[in-house]
Symmetry: C2
Subunit: 301 residues, 2 copies
């Protein structure tokens, strides 16, 4: 298979144009988002919804995330990733394996309708996790395009994938919010450093491979950087190739979110393009590409 | 000499009340700050001035800081502290040793009038530096009270010291702004970890001793945390014991400031209370306590 997005092979970084559409379906009446939202998606590569879920639903999600973080069986699993230094829980991958509520939320029509419309395709979940950015000691995530990693480490051939983040805590400017570079999704920035063997374990704690160079970032960020801030319950949709990162958190307030990655069933993984064996199933789905169906309501009756 | 602010001797952290006044002189007509500013100083422990200097003056400060950061002789000096990892310039101590402009600015009446009024005392400079928080790679400063360090590592007996920070770049919420805990200056939080020998070199890069515990911080921060943001030229006055920190900077925009510490001539250093030998003169003045006189204008004629 031809690799349209080369990288991880040494040399100098390249900025290449994106080959796939950003918005796979034109806006029309009856779409699950407004015409303005649809246009913003195309231009910016992300979209923030303030009120997709009710306060009662949000409270359920919060309780469930807290419950999982204290479940000894969950914590003992390899899908539970702790912070360097403090040992606090940083990410729990595949939370749906431990939670019917998360399984339902993943299939909520309010999310799926938008994702499937923008990708014009049925989808399955490529990756899912709960991110816990602890108070005081939450470390930064440096700038990266998720697609770059999913292409080179998981084998996703092209850009037909959308991430959805549901904030479980207030996102202030100071507790390590998501920062996005608007418009960056239109460009692929190659990262020359080759992938070391068994790289993924360290990368889940701190990413050092698959991070773009400062010169490319400066060019992408000429229009500025935007932060996702607001009360808990924000739902952020962002394109797989939108450059993003988040600062560390030294405040007494944690920052947590649920994170689902929806991939088109027409974009299922090949052998990883970076040359190493694929990452394990809890990080990247490679077997079950069954299109997601719609779940009922996510609140208990 | 009795140590009224014990610490660095193991055991559990203590929160003790501050013994010295915050504001040494009552407000009266003719004071160099308004009655509201005076009251805010007492309650919050900091004060931000938006327009103390003109745009032309600010441009001079910025040019001077840039010039110093590229002067090979300056960079070769032990007072030039680089970032762990990247080697970029993080702090230049005692910049007045290399710059007549900085010497004049340090003695500017617009700063000195306020500082001397609040401390009701002539002052000298205990420490001064330019902080360069580089774009992309500027590391965080964790929460700390400067007084805790100046007491245990430099021997300042009590709290009669004011820091002044002049921002040389825009301070956005995302390029690692100064975060302050309002009201925290009224409490002394002891830090039990003993000072290791020759600790100061590592501490100028990343502070690990002299940092308060999370429980104490949570109590101090019940009223919240405030950030200093705004265009370049902000002048922040803060009490020596106001708890502060700043997040890392992953944005493409650096954050720099000039930083002067004014100590009352009635509060000159004793032997360090932490039991180690004093830090070198470029970090903490211990010889020349001549009260500062007033400089003329800081802009070239």
């Amino acid at each position: 298979m031809i690799d349209h997005y080369p990288g991880r092979q040494g040399g100098s970084p390249l900025i290449l144009p994106r080959l796939e559409p950003v918005t796979w379906r034109k806006w029309q009446r009856g779409a699950p988002l407004t015409q303005t939202q649809h246009a913003r998606w195309t231009v910016d590569g992300f979209l923030v919804h303030q009120e997709l879920f009710t306060a009662a639903e949000l409270a359920c999600f919060q309780e469930e995330a807290a419950r999982l973080a204290e479940d000894a069986r969950v914590l003992a699993d390899e899908s539970a990733i702790t912070e360097r230094g403090s040992g606090a829980l940083r990410s729990l991958f595949r939370p749906q394996a431990h939670s019917a509520l998360v399984r339902r939320l993943m299939q909520d029509p309010r999310i799926l309708d938008i994702v499937e419309y923008l990708l014009d395709s049925p989808v399955y979940v490529h990756q899912s996790r709960i991110n816990y950015k602890p108070a005081f000691r939450g470390r930064e995530f440096w700038w990266h395009s998720d697609f770059e990693t999913w292409h080179h480490e998981d084998g996703l051939p092209g850009m037909r994938t959308i991430s959805v983040s549901i904030s479980l805590t207030d996102n202030t400017p100071y507790n390590g919010p998501l920062l996005l570079i608007p418009g960056s999704h239109r460009w692929y920035v190659s990262c020359p450093t080759p992938t070391p063997p068994d790289h993924f374990r360290a990368s889940l704690r701190e990413q050092t491979v698959g991070t773009p160079d400062e010169g490319s970032l400066r060019r992408l960020a000429e229009r500025g950087v935007e932060a996702v801030t607001g009360p808990a319950g924000l739902v952020t949709f962002f394109d797989c190739n939108t450059m993003h990162g988040s600062p560390g958190n030294i405040t007494p307030w944690p920052r947590s979110n649920l994170f689902f990655v929806y991939n088109s069933v027409h974009n299922t993984p090949e052998a990883p393009f970076g040359g190493q064996p694929p990452r394990p199933a809890f990080v990247a789905e490679r077997r079950d590409f069954t299109p997601l169906g719609r779940a009922g309501t996510t609140t208990p009756a």
